[in-house]
Symmetry: C2
Subunit: 200 residues, 2 copies
């Protein structure tokens, strides 16, 4: 089987999964499968649907998938305890599902992949503005993905793509030693074949 | 294959896994596999070892295992954000690994199983005293497990056993309609064959 895909995941209930073709550099997105579940007090809440996510990960874990790249999560100060819980739960669930398919898994810290794209938060920038910056970078690198990233709320998809692309550039040779992330210039999607430093 | 086991899990880095034989009512314990991992600042920290836990769950997920019972986790006020993170991460990881083996999984809220054993925290009781109460209850119900539960720090094992036993009493008939949790009185381990209300 020819290795074809690297999968980047933006972890979280509003997260996204990006499948990046490592040869053609085309992308597909899968939004995190989320369901409404009953609370004990009669209300409902949104959380990741374990079984649906399992089915999705199985579907994506063929031998043509080289490696999964997840954004590493840790407890940090800015978010609430409830959000911390959901994020960690989703991170654990994804790792459990992925390693069960025997596909390799890499994690990358947010600061690491963001630095590689020069995505540095300036003083006074809101969280929303930072996310918009990610989306703009993804659009610059993958103009052919415009239709899939054109809405402001596509920032999670954009981040999953940037994570997949970071893995393609930095981790793929661990699995495919002959792989050249920046091979030749083609006419379409020229930008993505250049090192990031030339673009940003 | 004859259904033999129900597995109760006390979730967490210091958690434990109990395999309870549903016919002979004998128990085995597996401590949560934990490793030391490097931090970015040169130190180390303890966390669940994903791959070792995967191997353990696979080993326990034969067709003779009827169902897994996990204590349901949620974000709550008493613990730190870092602890919340670790707990949720472990909860997610376990669910991901277990559902990947296609074995059924039930969750039970702490308040639910504790109520069934009359484990009610009194005013002024420390967390340590509450845990010791769990261990004493497990020893009362399963005197034959004394050797495995005799140390004060075996409270996590004790809780995993109480969770498995709660599942045996309350969830097993969903999977084996003919199963009688309180069949006949035998001479050894008599206490565990009686409804809990008679003992506590």
């Amino acid at each position: 089987v020819r290795p074809e895909y690297i999968i980047g995941i933006d972890v979280g209930v509003s997260g996204a999964i990006c499948r990046l073709d490592i040869h053609r550099l085309t992308v597909e997105f899968f939004d995190m499968p989320v369901g409404r579940f009953a609370t004990s007090t009669g209300g409902t809440y949104r959380r990741v649907d374990d079984e649906q996510l399992k089915a999705l990960i199985r579907k994506l874990s063929g031998p043509d998938t080289v490696v999964y790249v997840l954004e590493y999560q840790q407890a940090f100060g800015l978010i609430s305890k409830a959000t911390t819980f959901k994020l960690a739960d989703c991170f654990g669930l994804l790792r459990g599902l992925i390693i069960s398919t025997n596909r390799p898994l890499e994690t990358v810290k947010p600061v690491e992949w963001k630095k590689a794209y020069h995505l540095i938060k300036s003083e006074g920038m809101t969280q929303r503005e930072v996310k918009e910056m990610s989306r703009q970078t993804a659009l610059q690198l993958f103009p052919s993905a415009y239709e899939l990233l054109k809405r402001k709320q596509d920032h999670n998809r954009a981040e999953s793509l940037l994570i997949a692309e970071f893995g393609r550039r930095h981790s793929l040779r661990k699995y495919i030693p002959s792989y050249q992330p920046f091979r030749e210039k083609s006419n379409q999607d020229q930008s993505i074949l250049e090192p990031i430093a030339d673009i940003c």
